[in-house]
């Protein structure tokens, strides 16, 4: 019987929660890296025993650790992330608001290659993209994205100026898509050597030109591997869809009560089934009315249904971060998400019913899930 491992990164360590394929009874292992902020804990899709953790604290900086035995033991990998060449500046909201020199803060997101177990990408704050071709032993900046002609106009979102989303289409190893807050969505068709802005159709009323090429606060982007030209994007106030790999976007907020949210995920077997969790807005980072609802579209967006069976329907004022939602590959598809209140919820039936599998963790930063034979 399959083993399900839910990999949870939190403000104060990482946790692995396991169940058999019934997804009825869950066990939480002791914390990994206690006291460290674990922005991402993720497994290699081609070497399932290989896990990577991005951990950091304000005190001791950034670490990358790797396990080759499913999390039993860990090895510190190289943590030297150096911006290459001319460092440059970006916009800044604090102090005298003068341009801010790029400064490494942390790794937000780790994206192992879907093809090569030794290749992994890392998205950083301040926004930059790094790549390792030896399983994390050395990191090189793919600096063309940070040196994009628009970069001096990028500005930090509430979480800083971060490159938080990396999408690797499985059918084209030369393509890389990234999301940066608050800059937008970028595409490379040559392995990160050159980049172009792909924000046509995105609208942000906070900008002097709402349809500006750059400055959009992209929160997260999801893709189904069987249909990599279709992308779903959760941004500051809208849910968007692209049918041409990001060259243009159309709004699919549809009948949602509110288009603001952070995570977005696609069903493992149905490329038109999409999940989001709306929150009240950019200031009120909690569900409208204190009711926690996941919304599911089975039509590729536009038409959404609320899913709340098993979720708190009153007095719930948590947030769900962009990285804190995942789906498993079982039949029926499982859906998982974690909250800033330390709960992790799971559904074993595509979101129809939910149960809490961890109630009292530190604030959840990321959720990933593995299905092991």
């Amino acid at each position: 019987m399959s083993l399900i491992k839910v990999l949870v990164g939190t403000r104060k360590g990482a946790f692995i929660i396991t169940s058999d394929a019934s997804r009825k009874s869950w066990e939480i292992a002791d914390p990994l890296f206690p006291g460290w902020e674990v922005y991402h804990l993720v497994a290699s899709p081609v070497m399932p025993g290989r896990l990577y953790a991005s951990q950091s604290t304000q005190w001791f900086g950034q670490l990358i650790q790797r396990s080759d035995n499913g999390g039993i033991s860990w090895q510190a990998m190289n943590n030297k992330f150096v911006y290459e060449g001319d460092i440059g500046t970006h916009r800044w909201h604090w102090g005298d608001c003068s341009p801010h020199v790029w400064q490494f803060e942390r790794i937000w997101h780790l994206q192992p290659s879907p093809i090569d177990p030794e290749v992994i990408y890392a998205g950083a704050a301040d926004a930059a993209l790094f790549c390792s071709v030896d399983g994390g032993q050395q990191w090189t900046e793919l600096d063309a994205i940070r040196k994009h002609e628009s970069a001096s106009h990028w500005e930090p979102g509430a979480g800083g100026l971060c490159l938080h989303t990396i999408v690797l289409p499985p059918d084209n190893p030369n393509q890389i898509f990234v999301g940066i807050s608050a800059a937008g969505f970028f595409k490379s068709d040559d392995g990160g050597t050159t980049w172009r802005l792909s924000n046509k159709g995105l609208r942000s009323f906070e900008l002097p030109d709402p349809y500006a090429e750059v400055g959009h606060c992209v929160h997260h982007v999801a893709m189904h591997p069987s249909r990599p030209q279709v992308l779903y994007l959760q941004k500051h106030w809208d849910v968007m869809r692209s049918d041409d790999a990001g060259d243009s976007w159309n709004e699919i907020t549809g009948n949602l009560p509110n288009g603001f949210g952070f995570p977005i995920q696609v069903h493992a077997h149905e490329p038109d089934t999409v999940y989001i969790v709306p929150i009240s807005g950019e200031s009120e980072h909690f569900p409208p009315g204190g009711k926690l609802l996941v919304y599911r579209s089975r039509t590729g967006g536009g038409e959404w249904e609320p899913l709340g069976r098993g979720l708190p329907q009153r007095d719930c004022y948590v947030n769900i971060f962009r990285e804190a939602m995942a789906v498993d590959s079982l039949e029926p598809c499982g859906v998982y998400f974690g909250t800033t209140g330390g709960q992790v919820y799971a559904s074993g039936d595509e979101g129809d019913n939910w149960s809490v599998i961890a109630r009292d963790l530190p604030a959840v930063l990321s959720v990933e899930v593995q299905v092991l034979p």
Binding site: G35, W36, T57, Q58, W59, F60, G61, Q62, L63, A76, N79, K80, V82
Partner: protein
């Protein structure tokens, strides 16, 4: 023999308990820089956690104490205090008491 006390997080990372003791060639002056170089050579996983790997600058929320003095801002090439060099007092690497 130099004794170094690490904060809990770094002891766990380096997989050590208690103080770290290190023999350092003292034919040349033993400074903070020499001591940290030796520590990081022995425990490479500590690179970047105490000082920046590019600039060598101490991380802002890491403090250095020796002989009940805060020596965080001493020049890196100043010799360590005599009691530390003799192993009579530890060199303490401490997480700053901020936000904890």
């Amino acid at each position: 023999m130099i004794r170094v006390q690490l904060p809990t997080h770094l002891r766990r990372l380096a997989q050590v308990s208690g103080e770290v003791t290190m023999s350092i060639d003292d034919t040349a002056p033993v400074t903070q820089r020499v001591m940290l170089d030796t520590l990081e050579a022995r425990y490479p996983m500590l690179k970047g956690t105490i000082r920046d790997q590019v600039t060598g600058k101490r991380r802002g929320f890491v403090r250095f104490f020796a002989c009940q003095n805060d020596v965080s801002d001493e020049p890196l090439d100043t010799p360590l205090p005599e009691p530390v060099l003799k192993g009579e007092a530890p060199f303490m690497i401490v997480g700053a008491m901020a936000g904890g």
